[in-house]
């Protein structure tokens, strides 16, 4: 039961507001963990801190023992931590295929010299990309500009990109936002696939039913700190957790 991620006493304030307040937790390798809590609990900020998009005022975090704090987002990504954003962030003017090729995180081909001197073929990557897109039902859209996809297709594209990237640790920021049940089921499957391929997953979500069905355990945040960690079934009746959620519960069917 190896620990893949350890966060220790992360603190972050904006102006006078303490967004993250002594947040600490650990993640087991291969687990699917939900990160839940009412609005303003600091979940998104915590993700920003871990992925390098914000710098904490104090505290530390380690991915496979490698310190994360102080590194730039691209360096943390190269260590294997991929995070999504609350809305799908496709590269709109690039084709769906290109979105996937870029997601494959192979950086060696992107020099100016290689681009000019020897046109790059990328055949094996294209085959793999096609395969992934077919799996997600986006095969027919392979050459379409990503900006022309519907909302649901953009979500799927996001997951296709993640499949292409093969992260070590995946942090999903509210993947179920505005998603219908059929798509939700597809996402659920995708997460299972990721884990089967060796990823560890963290899901920030308000949709507690989804959390219940997908996650091994949950981390509950409130007012910037972790107030509980454990299996959802055990925590849902925990008085502290219920207290924090009073008025915030969103049970999607």
């Amino acid at each position: 039961m190896t620990v893949i991620l350890r966060a220790e006493a992360l603190n972050k304030s904006f102006g006078g507001v303490r967004a993250v307040n002594g947040c600490s937790f650990t993640l087991r390798e291969g687990s699917v963990t939900g990160l839940i809590g009412p609005n303003g609990a600091g979940k998104s900020t915590a993700i920003d801190l871990l992925s390098g998009f914000q710098r904490p005022d104090s505290g530390s975090a380690f991915l496979d023992g490698v310190p994360l704090i102080g590194k730039a987002p691209h360096d943390i990504s190269r260590l294997g931590l991929i995070r999504t954003f609350q809305s799908p962030r496709e590269w709109a003017s690039l084709s769906v295929l290109d979105n996937l090729l870029l997601a494959m995180r192979e950086y060696g081909r992107e020099s100016i010299w290689r681009g000019v001197l020897r046109p790059v073929r990328e055949a094996p990557q294209r085959v793999r990309a096609r395969e992934i897109l077919d799996r997600f039902g986006l095969g027919s859209l392979i050459n379409a500009p990503a900006g022309t996809l519907s909302g649901g297709q953009k979500r799927l594209l996001e997951f296709a990109r993640i499949a292409a990237a093969g992260p070590r640790l995946l942090i999903l920021d509210e993947p179920m936002g505005g998603v219908n049940p059929v798509l939700g089921e597809r996402i659920h499957q995708a997460i299972g696939d990721f884990v089967a391929h060796g990823s560890t997953v963290v899901v920030v979500e308000h949709n507690l039913r989804f959390i219940e069905e997908t996650c091994d355990e949950v981390i509950v945040m409130s007012l910037g700190a972790v107030i509980a960690q454990g299996p959802y079934a055990a925590l849902r009746n925990d008085p502290q957790v219920v207290d924090a959620y009073l008025g915030e519960v969103q049970d999607h069917v």
């Binding site: 992925s51 390098g52 998009f53 730039a72 987002p73 691209h74 990504s77 190269r78 991929i82 995070r83 999504t84 954003f85 962030r89 496709e90 590269w91 709109a92 003017s93 690039l94 084709s95 769906v96 295929l97 290109d98 090729l101 870029l102 997601a103 995180r105 950086y107 081909r109 992107e110 020099s111 100016i112 290689r114 681009g115 000019v116 046109p119 790059v120 990328e122 392979i142 050459n143 379409a144 500009p145 990503a146 900006g147 022309t148 990109r161 990237a165």
Partner: protein, 334 residues
């Protein structure tokens, strides 16, 4: 071909090379770099002061060697790229959109003022001169044939650069630049070094600018502040905008349309006695209106790039003018 048309075509080829350089930073990277023409100017100044020898007082300028023209251009490109590295390092770190534009505007404004006021640099208002028919001696060219030679030089340079940049556009690097332009946070989340990539593009564009400046110096024979006044600068930007930013062939088309059409158009304007600046001023008014009009009604240019790979192409289907196998497009906002 008449001497007039040789001149017009040579000049337009040089501007097209500039347009291609501007396209790298404005079209692919998506940054509105107002300092670009400053790099052109620097390249031109340096080329001249490296080839024409020591200044005769009261003229003053730095350096003053008599290097062969190709070597001078190469050195000029290197120096310009160095300057761009400094400005780029400052401007690209955290600045985007308006703040980036304002900072680069400030950079070129300062350069413009310093060059004019600090005479020991490049002789201030009067500028530097004396670069007459570079390489004519070594190649044994007569005065008549020189025009053809230089046109050939510029046209070939343009062609070679266009081919190289087309390839680059369709390459993973070109794709990366556009991804960063579309969403740089997502690019960072997938491991891309946003700052470093933008800086590379910036340096490439500056190098092309410096090179164009070197050719421009050889063409004009001299260089002074009027050659890079705000009006000249904006004409270039209009050309790139008209053609289609992000699209190598589109940019070349746009430059040719704007420069040749405008030169021809304003030839027929009446001369107003007492106001010698009338015709050029009208031309500038038209350029300004062109910029506004394009931005309002056709921001993607005459020849919008194909979005996606073989996806639906908006607007005119001009197969020749659209870049081959382009991985992405710039059919959107500047």
């Amino acid at each position: 071909m008449s001497a007039y048309w040789i001149t017009v075509l040579t000049q337009t080829c040089i501007f097209a090379i500039m347009g291609l350089g501007l396209n790298v930073v404005w079209g692919w990277s998506g940054d509105f770099d107002l300092a670009f023409y400053g790099y052109v100017a620097l390249g031109a100044y340096l080329t001249i002061v490296l080839t024409v020898g020591k200044p005769l007082p009261p003229i003053q300028y730095i350096l003053g060697y008599t290097l062969p023209y190709p070597l001078a251009v190469a050195i000029a490109v290197a120096v310009v790229t160095g300057v761009a590295a400094v400005i780029g390092a400052v401007a690209l770190r955290n600045l985007r959109a308006i703040y980036f534009a304002i900072t680069t505007l400030g950079a070129i404004s300062v350069l413009y003022v310093v060059v004019q006021v600090y005479t020991p640099l490049f002789n201030g208002f009067n500028g530097v001169a004396g670069l007459v028919t570079p390489m004519a001696g070594t190649l044994g060219l007569s005065y008549d044939s020189y025009g053809y030679f230089f046109l050939g030089l510029c046209a070939t340079s343009l062609l070679v650069l266009a081919v190289m940049l087309s390839r680059l556009s369709a390459s993973p690097f070109g794709r990366l630049l556009r991804a960063i332009r579309d969403d740089e946070d997502a690019a960072a989340a997938f491991g891309r070094r946003v700052y470093r990539s933008k800086l590379k593009a910036y340096l490439l564009s500056a190098a092309i600018a410096g090179f164009a400046g070197g050719l421009f110096a050889g063409f004009l024979g001299s260089f002074n502040p009027t050659a890079w006044s705000p009006q000249e600068v904006l004409t270039l930007y209009a050309g790139v905008l008209v053609g289609g930013r992000g699209n190598v062939r589109g940019v070349i088309l746009g430059i040719f349309v704007v420069y040749i059409a405008f030169i021809e158009l304003t030839r027929f304007l009446p001369e107003i006695p007492g106001n010698g600046a009338f015709a050029p001023a009208v031309r500038q008014v038209l350029i300004g209106l062109l910029i506004i009009g394009m931005l309002k009604f056709r921001p993607q240019g005459i020849v919008p790039e194909p979005l996606g790979l073989d996806g639906p192409r908006p607007g005119i289907r001009w197969r020749f003018w659209q870049d081959p196998r382009t991985a992405s497009a710039a059919g959107g906002e500047p």
